[in-house]
């Protein structure tokens, strides 16, 4: 009995908080309507996904592998990203390139995005500026985990 009463009190408390937020925001929006400048602004809800917020330039989003002028990956399979990745979610295998100035290219480059923690260390470690996280893509959820394993082809876009 006493316990049930507790629930009701919590519900009432909750509604009071909602009401308070509503009134405070209403107040600032009304002031804005009358062009009165205040330090605090009324809260706005962004209508995601129809409406999207601008992503800051430093934001870390989906990885991409950059290309050389001739379309080959810039990556030289040095495995520094593999070494630094705290989630151990990158796998690289190297292959020989016929060009003696290039020599080493990745034959396999996999990022298991289901494990990636988006720390950006791989970008930081790369000596060739071959990997970046600047695609701005943040919506790549999938229904199955294997679709989150991105290979060379997918990463080169």
């Amino acid at each position: 009995m006493i316990k049930a009463l507790g629930y009701f009190i919590a519900i009432i408390k909750g509604s009071l908080i909602t009401t308070r937020h509503f009134m405070v925001n209403m107040w600032f929006h009304t002031l804005k309507l009358f062009r009165i400048k205040t330090k605090r602004k009324g809260a706005v809800t962004i209508q995601y996904p129809e409406e999207k917020r601008k992503i800051a330039s430093r934001h870390r989003s989906l990885h991409r592998l950059l290309k050389r002028e001739d379309g080959k990956p810039r990556c030289v399979a040095c495995m520094l990203c593999v070494t630094v990745c705290p989630s151990e979610c990158i796998f690289v295998e190297a292959a020989e390139d016929p060009d003696p100035e290039v020599q080493k290219v990745p034959s396999i480059f996999i990022i298991d995005l289901s494990r990636c923690c988006f720390c950006g260390f791989c970008v930081e470690a790369c000596p060739e500026d071959a990997i970046r996280m600047d695609t701005g893509q943040i919506e790549f959820a999938e229904y199955s985990r294997d679709k989150l394993i991105y290979d060379l082809e997918k990463l080169m876009g």
Partner: protein, 517 residues
């Protein structure tokens, strides 16, 4: 004896020692590129400059001999400045392509730049373009841009193999290491060059781009591909948690042992390591099926078979065929169990045939422990197989690793007729299917023990790799089996490790008591 002071540290060294060696004996490292313990000092890289009190200029630590009362400083301001200068000159024309260089991670230039360099380059000139991928040996590639002209490679081929395939051509900025008329380095010790080169100028085709050096775990072991017993490091990759690798071992490197192999190993020992991973048998196979069986059950079955014949006084119908891939300890246990306790009539060796030796390290015997077997008292002459297999009811064969070069044809015909045949093997092989029981055994690189090499040195070794799957070291199986047999329980019960077996072995066999290390 000369008393000298290096960085305030006093050391007593023999007259005629170089400063670099004296410093090393005192635990001080002086950076060096061209100097290598195996050769006379060359004095070409200038990395080892030190200051000597009373002398106006810096001197080379690698080639200056000590004098009594000398005061040397390896850390003074002028030395540090000089090292930076030398490094800057070396790097001025260096491609710094560490991301694609297989030496990265163990490169002396990288290490010294980290430790003594850390300057911003002040050269604006374009770097000299040179050839980056020249084949100079059957397993070697040369990058002229990376070469620091230390001449270690040239000296190795002049002094150690005496084959003289490489030389330094041209002068000044154009100087380069190359072959004579394109004749490749092709001797049985060529692989040492890639290890000897202090930078990534000579790299190994076998290791090329396979992985990066810092992923490798380096553990001590002994080469088992001939009876020299060269000291090696087995370098294996622990793998990644989410991606599987095709193999464990990526390369074999030399381990210095002046008594056995000096600083070198042969190319056979260096490159023929694929047997460590390929075609490994890692499950117990009974009557050609891999139904899960535990070692405990198997040991009981084997002990039961032996016990039955033993109590029927038919021990002479047990046959045992060995290969000298077994360690001293294992051979000792076999001797104790099968010859002393059960007294079986037939023991013989079936080793791969001898091949040609090369007058340096590689021996004609291609198994590592024939000498050990001899010292324990086995007869190594192969038997007359027909007679040997005639009235055998229970046959044990220890063949690990079974390699292509052992001729098993004399056994094949007889195997069918023998009531029960048990094979201890480390690899899949066509002959496996002819045995009633095939038990997976660990290789030398996966267990502990000792081996006796061709000249009689007894060398201990410990596991460099984990045993795959259900593999078991032979000594462990033999101890378990002996305890199950209950013939001499207390004797075998004291054995818990190869070391404990060696202790007893030393007491019983005088050869192992003496120092042959």
């Amino acid at each position: 004896m000369a008393k000298i002071l290096i960085d305030e540290r006093e050391c007593d060294v023999a007259e005629g020692t170089t400063i670099l060696k004296a410093a090393e004996s005192a635990g001080l490292q002086i950076p060096h590129l061209c100097y290598h313990k195996a050769f006379m000092p060359e004095g070409s890289c200038r990395m080892c400059l030190v200051e000597i009190e009373g002398l106006p200029k810096l001197e080379l630590a690698c080639s200056t001999q000590v004098r009594d009362g000398m005061k040397v400083s390896t850390k003074s301001e002028s030395v540090i400045e000089a090292r930076k200068g030398v490094l800057e000159c070396l790097l001025a024309d260096h491609p710094i392509d560490c991301p694609i260089c297989d030496k990265a991670g163990e490169c002396k230039l990288q290490d010294y730049y980290e430790e003594y360099g850390l300057f911003e380059s002040e050269f604006n000139e374009e770097k000299e373009k040179r050839q980056k991928k020249i084949e100079i040996g059957k397993n070697l590639l040369h990058d002229q841009e990376r070469c620091v002209l230390c001449r270690r490679c040239v000296r190795f081929l002049d002094e150690v193999t005496k084959t003289r395939e490489l030389g330094v051509f041209q002068r000044g900025v154009h100087a380069e290491v190359a072959t004579y008329d394109g004749i490749l380095v092709d001797n049985n010790y060529s692989g040492n060059l890639a290890e000897l080169c202090p930078v990534g100028a000579i790299t190994d085709k076998d290791f090329r781009f396979k992985t990066r050096t810092w992923f490798l775990q380096s553990r001590e072991s002994i080469c088992t591909l001939c009876s020299r017993g060269c000291n090696i490091y087995v370098e294996s990759h622990q793998g990644f948690s989410r991606f599987s690798l095709p193999k464990r071992v990526y390369r074999i490197q030399t381990r210095e042992n002046q008594m056995i192999n000096g600083f070198w190993i042969c190319d056979k020992g260096r490159y023929d390591y694929s047997y460590l991973d390929q075609e490994r048998l890692d499950k117990i196979v009974v009557n050609n099926s891999e139904d899960p069986q535990s070692w405990q059950e198997i040991t009981s079955i084997v002990a039961g078979e032996i016990g039955r014949l033993f109590h029927m006084k038919r021990s002479s119908h047990i046959g045992l065929i060995l290969q000298s891939w077994l360690s001293n300890e294992e051979l000792f246990l076999i001797d104790k169990i099968f010859r002393n306790d059960i007294n079986i009539g037939k023991i013989s060796f079936l080793d791969p045939p001898e091949e040609s030796s090369d007058d340096f390290l590689l021996t004609a015997e291609r198994t590592p422990n024939r000498r050990g077997a001899k010292e324990i008292g086995f007869d190594l002459q192969p038997a007359d197989w027909e007679k040997f297999l005639e009235d055998v009811d229970l046959l044990f064969v220890f063949a690990s690793p079974i390699k292509g070069d052992t001729d098993f044809s004399p056994l094949k015909a007889a195997l069918d007729k023998i009531e029960k045949t048990v094979l201890f093997a480390s690899h899949n092989h066509e002959i496996n299917s002819l045995f009633d029981m095939v038990l997976p055994m660990s290789l030398i690189a996966e267990k502990g023990g000792s081996l006796t090499n061709i000249v009689g040195s007894v060398q201990g070794f410990s596991p460099a790799l984990d045993a795959p799957g259900n593999c078991k070291p032979a000594w462990q199986f033999l101890v378990d089996l002996a305890k199950k047999l209950m013939i001499n329980f207390d004797f075998y019960n004291q054995f818990s490790s190869p070391e404990s077996i060696r202790e007893v072995m030393k007491k019983e066999i005088p050869y192992f008591r003496e120092e042959h290390e």
